[in-house]
C-alpha cells in the first residue's frame, strides 16, 4: 500500500473533473485520479451543444434561460443555482472558445447557435437559438479542449486509478464529518493507493448503466455516488432520471436533440407528427420527459412502428443532405453503421433511452458536499453528473449538462483549491485502506457461484421493466423486492480472474455492487414520491403535488446494530426566488 499526499485530489477526468483540474492545478498541488484515460469519458458522447444566452443570432438573455431551466426541471430546481448557471453560462462558453474549442461559426465569425428542446424566447413564447455547438460533436470538442488545456497546465493524472472509497473522519464531540482523502485501486498493478488530500472533488459521472437500454457508457456505474453514500453521506433526488427521447432502437445509442433542433420530426406508424398533440407550441422540441412519455404513449396505444410496434421514427428525410453532412455528421453515420439505414432517404427507428441522472451527491452552489440539508462537509466537493446542485430539478434541459460541468466544475475546482490553501490535512483514519483491501480480497478469494454478468442482466431488466418512464406503486415495489434479492445474491458473487494485473473481472464485480446500492436508493426514493414531476412519472399519481412534494428527496444509508442496511429518506426544501410554480405546458 502506498500513501500519497496532495492538496487537491480530483476523482474523474471527464468534463467536470478536467475543468476543475485546470483551476485547481493553478492554485494548489493537484492530482486527478481517473479509472479511464482522460479522453475516454462520456462527456465525449454529448452531441448537441451547450446553452448560453450569447444572443449571437437572435435576441436572448440569461433570465429567459433561468426560467426555461426552472420550468424544464418542473420547479424542483433550486432557483439561486439555476440563476448562477444561466449567468455564468456566457463566460463558460467564451472561456472554452478562448481555450481553443472549435465552435461552428456564424457568417460574421461569431459562435453559431441553434434551437434545442425546452429553450424558449420570453418565457415560452417560441423556440430560441441558444445552444452553442460544434457540429454534433460538441461534447467531444469540450473533452478534447479541456484535456489539451490540462496538458498545457501540466495537470498530474493517475490514469486507470479506480477510486473505491472515500475517507471520512467524524468529530466524536460535534459529529462533524470531514474528508481525509480517498482510496484508489491501481488497475495496472492491482495495488491499493491511499491519497491523503485537503480537498477532494468528485467528478466521476453518472450511474445509467443499471438500465439496459441506455446511452450511457459501460463505465458509468455510479462509483462516486456509491463511495460517498456508503460513508453515511446523503444522495439527493435519486428518483429523477432522464430518458432521452431519441436513442437508436434497441441499442440506446444517443441521437442528439439537435436533430430535431435542425428540423427533424418524430412520426408514428401512420406517418403522423404526433408531438403536435402533446406540445402544440414547442412540438418536437418540448422538454425530454414530455417527448419520451409521448413516444411511449404512442407505442402503448398501438401506433408504434415495426412488426412489434415498439419504436417510432425520427424523420430527417426532408432536410437537405448538405445540412445533415454539415450539422449532424456523426449521428447520420451512427444510423449507417449500426442500422444500415441511409438517413437522407429513410427515417431512423428510435426509442427513449436512459440518459442522465438528475440526482446525485448534494452540493451547494460552491460545489461543497452537504452532510444533511445545511451542513457542509469540509474538504469535500462534487460537480457534474455525480452532483445534484440542483440545477436540473426533476428534468434536465438538453445542453444544460455540458453547461453544468463547465460552470460547476470550475466553481468546485476553485473552491477546493482555495480551501486547500487555508486548511490542514485531516489525519487519516487508522488503517485507511482496510475496507478496500477487504473488499478486493473478498471478491478475489470468493468461491461464490453467482455470476456478475447474470446479476447485472437481471438488474438491468428489472430497472427497464419497473423504474423507467412509467412507474406505479406496484412496479416500484417489485423493483425494491427484486433489488433486495439481487443484493443478497451479490454477497455470494464469484469471479474467474484471480490475478492482480488489469483484473477487469474484479472491477466489474465492484461496479455491480455500486450499481445495486444506487438502484435501490432510486427505487425507494421513487416509491416514496407519490406524484408525477419531470422525469419521475407515476401512473397512479399522474399529477404534480406541490403541497406535499415540492421538496428534494435526501436518502441516507443507515446501518442497524445487527449490521442490516436500510435506506432512510428525508426531505429538503426547494430554493425559490423569482418563479412561482405554474402548470408546465410546451
Amino acid at each position: 500500500m502506498q500513501i500519497h499526499t496532495y492538496d487537491t485530489v480530483i476523482v474523474g477526468a471527464g468534463g467536470a473533473g478536467m475543468r476543475a483540474a485546470i483551476e485547481a492545478t493553478k492554485r494548489s498541488r493537484t492530482a486527478v485520479l481517473t479509472k479511464l484515460y482522460p479522453t475516454r469519458s462520456h462527456t465525449g458522447a454529448a452531441q448537441g451543444g451547450m446553452a448560453a444566452a450569447l444572443a449571437n443570432v437572435e435576441e436572448d438573455n440569461w433570465e429567459w434561460h433561468t426560467f426555461d431551466t426552472v420550468k424544464g426541471g418542473d420547479y424542483l430546481v433550486d432557483q439561486d443555482a439555476a440563476e448562477i448557471l444561466a449567468k455564468e453560462a456566457i463566460d463558460a462558453v467564451l472561456d472554452l472558445e478562448k481555450m481553443g474549442l472549435p465552435f461552428n461559426r456564424t457568417p460574421q465569425g461569431r459562435i453559431d447557435q441553434r434551437r434545442f428542446g425546452g429553450h424558449s424566447r420570453n418565457h415560452g413564447e417560441a423556440p430560441v437559438r441558444r445552444s452553442c455547438y460544434a457540429a454534433d460533436r460538441t461534447g467531444h470538442m469540450i473533452l478534447q479542449t479541456l484535456y489539451q488545456n490540462c496538458v498545457k497546465e501540466g495537470v498530474e493524472f493517475f490514469n486507470e486509478f479506480y477510486v473505491l472509497d472515500q475517507l471520512v473522519t467524524e468529530d466524536p464531540e460535534t459529529g462533524l464529518k470531514r474528508s481525509a482523502g480517498v482510496v484508489a485501486y491501481d488497475l495496472a498493478t492491482g495495488e491499493v493507493h491511499v491519497f491523503q488530500a485537503k480537498a477532494v472533488v468528485y467528478a466521476s459521472g453518472g450511474n445509467g448503466k443499471f438500465f439496459k437500454v441506455t446511452s450511457n457508457a459501460h463505465t458509468l456505474t455510479g462509483d462516486g455516488q456509491a463511495s460517498v453514500f456508503r460513508r453515511g453521506l446523503p444522495l439527493e433526488d435519486m428518483e429523477f432520471f432522464q430518458f432521452h427521447p431519441t436513442g437508436i432502437w434497441r441499442m440506446g445509442i444517443l441521437l442528439t436533440e439537435g436533430a430535431r433542433g435542425e428540423g427533424g420530426i418524430l412520426r408514428n406508424k401512420d406517418g403522423e407528427r404526433f408531438m403536435e398533440k402533446y406540445a402544440p407550441v414547442m412540438k418536437d422540441l418540448a422538454s425530454r420527459d414530455v417527448v419520451s412519455r409521448a413516444i411511449y404513449t404512442e407505442i402503448r396505444e398501438g401506433r408504434g412502428c415495426g412488426p412489434e410496434g415498439d419504436h417510432v421514427y425520427l424523420d430527417l428525410t426532408h432536410l437537405p443532405p448538405e445540412q445533415l453532412d454539415a450539422k449532424l455528421p456523426d449521428i447520420t453515420e451512427f444510423a449507417r453503421t449500426y442500422l444500415g439505414i441511409e438517413p437522407y432517404t429513410d427515417p431512423i427507428p428510435i426509442q427513449p433511452t436512459a440518459h442522465y441522472a438528475m440526482g446525485g451527491i448534494p452540493t451547494n452552489v460552491r460545489g461543497e458536499v452537504l452532510a444533511d440539508n445545511t451542513t457542509v462537509v469540509p474538504g469535500l466537493y462534487a460537480a457534474g453528473e455525480v452532483a445534484c446542485v440542483s440545477v436540473h430539478g426533476a428534468n434536465r434541459l438538453g445542453t444544460n449538462s455540458l453547461l453544468d460541468i463547465n460552470v460547476f466544475g470550475r466553481r468546485a475546482g476553485v473552491a477546493a483549491a482555495e480551501y486547500a490553501a487555508t486548511a490542514d490535512h485531516v489525519e487519516l483514519p487508522a488503517d485507511p485502506a482496510a475496507f478496500v483491501l477487504g473488499e478486493v480480497e473478498r471478491l478475489r478469494d470468493s468461491a461464490g457461484k453467482e455470476r456478475v454478468a447474470e446479476l447485472r442482466r437481471e438488474l438491468q431488466e428489472t430497472m427497464d421493466k419497473n423504474v423507467m418512464v412509467f412507474r406505479t406503486e406496484q412496479t416500484l415495489k417489485e423493483a425494491v423486492e427484486k433489488l433486495a434479492e439481487l443484493r443478497t445474491r451479490y454477497r455470494n458473487v464469484g469471479i474467474q480472474d484471480k490475478g492482480r494485473r488489469f483484473n477487469t473481472d474484479l472491477l466489474e464485480a465492484i461496479e455491480l455492487g455500486n450499481m445495486l446500492d444506487l438502484a435501490e436508493v432510486m427505487a425507494i426514493s421513487a416509491l416514496a414520491r407519490k406524484e408525477s414531476r419531470g422525469g419521475h412519472y407515476r401512473e397512479d399519481y399522474p399529477n404534480r403535488d406541490d403541497v406535499n412534494f415540492m421538496r428534494h428527496t435526501m436518502a441516507y444509508r443507515e446501518v442497524g446494530d445487527d449490521g442490516s442496511e436500510t435506506v432512510r429518506l428525508d426531505y429538503k426544501p426547494v430554493v425559490q426566488t423569482r418563479y412561482q410554480p405554474m402548470e408546465r405546458k410546451y
Binding site: L94, G100, H218, Q496
Partner: protein
C-alpha cells in the same frame, strides 16, 4: 480444461430455422504475464446476431465463457476511443465493427494493436502514444490580451482544420504505421494530426514552433505515405493528407 463452448451440433439443433443468430469463431491473442511468458491464440465459439458488434462478442465471451479475457472499452459507439484493436489484421474499433462485415464464416482474429507494449491480452501501454501527443504542444497558444468576447473566426477558417478535430486518440492510426511498429521514437500519425489541428487554426500563434518540432528527424519526414493510417482511422480522418499538408507547410516556409 473444460471446453468453453457448446458443442456445435447441439447449438445448431437448439436454434430455430429463422433465427438471426450464427455461430462465429473468435481467435483471440491472449497474454497473461502472471501465467506464462508467451502469448498464444485461443478460440471461442459464440452464438451471436451478425448485426452485433465485435465488442458485443467480446463481452459475451468475458461474461459467459471466460472472465479473464481483458480489454478496454467504455462508450461502445465509437466516441471514446478505448477499444482500438487489430481485427482480422486491420486496426478498428471493436464497437464500430459489425460482425457481418468481417466475414464471420471464417475465424475472426482479434489481437492487441501493434507497436505498443502488451500488458495483458488486448491491453497495451498507451503512455508512449500519449507522450508523443503531449510533445507536439496540442493546445491553443495565443499572445496579447484576450478579447472580452469570443475570438472571431470565419466559417472557412473554421472549416480548414475541421477534419483533424475529429480525432479521438484511439491510436488506431499510429499503431497501424509500419514505421512506428519498429521505431516508437517516430511521433506517429495521431500526434501529427493533433499538431495539424492547431497549425491550421487561424486563432493559433504557435504554428512555427509545432512545425519546428515536426521537422525533427522523428517527425513528419519519416512518413512513407503507405496510407495505413487513413485506412485505420475509425473517424474517417484523412490522416495521410494531414501529414502531407504539414510537410507542404514546412517546405513552403523554407523556400
Amino acid at each position: 480444461m473444460a471446453t468453453p463452448v457448446m458443442d456445435k451440433a447441439e447449438a445448431e439443433a437448439a436454434r430455430p430455422a429463422d433465427s438471426p443468430y450464427i455461430t462465429a469463431t473468435f481467435r483471440i491473442r491472449r497474454f497473461n504475464p502472471e501465467a506464462a511468458a508467451e502469448s498464444y491464440w485461443e478460440d471461442f465459439r459464440v452464438e451471436i446476431d451478425p448485426k452485433e458488434r465485435v465488442l458485443d462478442a467480446l463481452h459475451k465471451i468475458k461474461w459467459d465463457l471466460d472472465g479473464t479475457l481483458t480489454f478496454r472499452r467504455s462508450c461502445a459507439h465509437g466516441i471514446c476511443g478505448s477499444d482500438a484493436m487489430r481485427i482480422n489484421g486491420r486496426n478498428r474499433l471493436a464497437c464500430k465493427t459489425l460482425i457481418k462485415d468481417i466475414a464471420p464464416e471464417k475465424p475472426i482474429t482479434v489481437e492487441p494493436i501493434k507497436g505498443l507494449t502488451v500488458q495483458k491480452d488486448l491491453i497495451v501501454d498507451m503512455e508512449p502514444f500519449f507522450q508523443a501527443y503531449r510533445d507536439v504542444m496540442p493546445f491553443l497558444v495565443t499572445h496579447g490580451n484576450e478579447p472580452t468576447r469570443e475570438r472571431l473566426q470565419s466559417a472557412e477558417d473554421r472549416e480548414r482544420f475541421d477534419d483533424t478535430t475529429k480525432c479521438i486518440l484511439c491510436a488506431a492510426c499510429t499503431s497501424s504505421c509500419p514505421v512506428f511498429w519498429n521505431d516508437g521514437q517516430y511521433f506517429g500519425p495521431a500526434a501529427i494530426v493533433n499538431a495539424h489541428r492547431f497549425i491550421f487554426d487561424s486563432r493559433d500563434e504557435a504554428g512555427e514552433q509545432r512545425l519546428e518540432i515536426l521537422n525533427d528527424k522523428d517527425g513528419v519526414w519519416r512518413c512513407r505515405t503507405t496510407f495505413n493510417c487513413t485506412d485505420a482511422c475509425p473517424r474517417g480522418i484523412e490522416v495521410t493528407k494531414a501529414i502531407q499538408e504539414v510537410k507542404r507547410a514546412l517546405i513552403t516556409r523554407r523556400f
